[in-house]
Structures are given as structure tokens and as C-alpha cells.
Symmetry: C2
Subunit: 163 residues, 2 copies
């Protein structure tokens, strides 16, 4: 929106924070998907401020709704509607229909996705609704997911509602 | 699915449970939207079993993601994918895009909605994806919402991401 914003640099930071969250979840024995909601902040040293971060909590908290993105939004707490619209959400994996719906509910302006090879979510619906979608194609994000899925296929199917 | 199922009777019970949850939220000063996930159970006295119920928690828990339906799903805990598919979710208000997405994620088969006059959510997307959608047009559900919105328009706009 402003030419002064160094998105490539902010996006690297954002995806790294999401990836740290995914690794944290893996360390806890959970599903390795992480997310963070960032807003631009020109007064901050790196040009952004973290509003909330989180990771999938299906295994850790027996939660069917705390996917990575929902956790990040929940940890961000109550925000004014205008804050979401100029924010970016980073997620290590393509967002499922629930997380896609949450992004649309709050009209989050940008979504940066680590990878969509192990699961393809609602990217088309996001784009159709004017959300900027960037897929980074991160090998690290993909490797984390492939390892989890190969070790725990049932847990993964449960997370995406597959029989 | 089976002709032995008395859906009209079960649906009355289901919507009443959702409405009780909405009233509970109103009593707590919260947004009056309630929900319950039910599954048929022919061994149970009334032919159904409650899997989880809940209400909007924006005000009570400062939660941006615990809408009525998300609360009900969260309170139901981890379920096998096949359980959702033969379940019905009841909600006093037409589901927003996040809750619509959660219903689609778990392929919940039926959605019974109290009213859609104060807010129209993702009903078309649900139907397009094969979900049975029933709108009851409940005056009680509508009155609860109209009262909340007139007393707290900003809180309501925040809940649906409107400026």
C-alpha cells in the first residue's frame, strides 16, 4: 500500500515466526502448523508488529478448532475491525475452509502461505474475495508436514475431517 | 436418513438447547448466539445425543474466534470424522464465514438456523457443498439479536468484522 513498506523482508520475518510456531508444535508432539498475524508499524524497528501467534493445538489441547491460524487470531485477542484489514496472516500451510472463513470474516488483507503441496485449502475463495495470497513454497514447511503425516496419518485426517 | 428419525422433534430440542445457550450469553452480558452439535442416537430416550454446546464468548472471554458454533465444536472436543458427517449443528443465527468454513471442514451434514434476518451468513456456500440447511425463522432468536444490536452496535460490528 505504501512504497516504503519492505514486504519481502517483513514476509521473511513473518514466515519465520510461523515456522518457529510449527516447530514448537512438533516438539510438543503436535501437528506442525504455525501462524502469526502481523501488522505494519513504521515506528517499529523492522516495520511490523506481532499481533498474535500460535500453532495447531489438536493434540496438545484436544482442540478441534485451534488450527494454527485460529490460534494466532485467538492469541491476538479482540481487535478493531480496521486493524485486521491492513494486517497480514502468515501460515505454514494452506488454510483449511474454517481458517479461510476466519480470514474472510475479518477481511484480513494479505495471506502468506508456507506451502500448499501437502494440503490445498481455500486459496481460490480468498482470491475471489480480493485477498492477496502469496505462496512461498517453503521446503521446511513441507518437510515438517510430510514427516507428521507419514508418522500420524490418522491424526492428520482427523484435523482435516477426512475419513 | 432413516425414516424412524423424528427430525422435527429432534430439531425442536436442538434449537431450544441453542436458544438456552444464547440466553445464557445474554445474561452474562455477551452476544446472544448459541449453538449445539447433536448426533442421532436411537438408544437415547429422545433419539439424540448432545456432543457439545456453547455460545459466543467475545465479551466473556475476549475471544475473537469463539463464536457460538466454534464454541459448540470446541466443547465437543476431538471427534472422529465420521461422527460429524451424521450430526446436525443448531445455531440461533445464520453462520458467519468462519463458522460456515468449520461446518464445511468437518462436513457436518445438517445445519438448523434460528434466524437469518439480522445477519445472513454462508448459507449458499453450505448448500452448494451439499449441506442440508434449514432456517426456522424463530422470533425468539431474532428478538435476542435485535436487542443486543440496538444496545451494542459496536460490539456486534466487531463480531462480524464490520467497520
Amino acid at each position: 500500500m505504501s512504497s516504503a513498506v519492505d514486504w519481502p523482508s517483513i514476509d521473511r520475518h513473518g514466515l519465520n515466526i510461523a515456522l518457529e510456531q510449527a516447530r514448537k508444535s512438533a516438539t510438543e508432539g503436535g501437528i506442525p502448523i504455525g501462524s502469526v498475524l502481523l501488522t505494519r508499524d513504521e515506528a517499529a524497528p523492522d516495520g511490523y508488529r506481532v499481533l498474535g501467534k500460535g500453532h495447531n493445538q489438536r493434540i496438545q489441547k484436544s482442540s478441534p478448532t485451534l488450527h494454527g491460524e485460529i490460534s494466532a487470531l485467538e492469541n491476538a485477542g479482540r481487535l478493531k475491525p480496521e486493524v485486521y484489514r491492513t494486517s497480514t496472516i502468515y501460515t505454514t500451510l494452506s488454510p483449511c475452509s474454517m481458517c479461510t472463513g476466519a480470514i474472510l470474516l475479518y477481511r484480513i488483507g494479505r495471506v502468506v502461505i508456507g506451502e500448499n503441496k501437502t494440503f490445498l485449502g481455500g486459496e481460490e475463495l480468498l482470491k475471489k474475495n480480493g485477498v492477496e495470497v502469496i505462496v512461498v513454497d517453503s521446503k521446511e514447511c513441507e518437510d515438517l508436514m510430510r514427516q507428521f503425516i507419514s508418522e500420524n496419518p490418522e491424526g492428520w485426517n482427523e484435523d482435516i475431517g477426512e475419513l
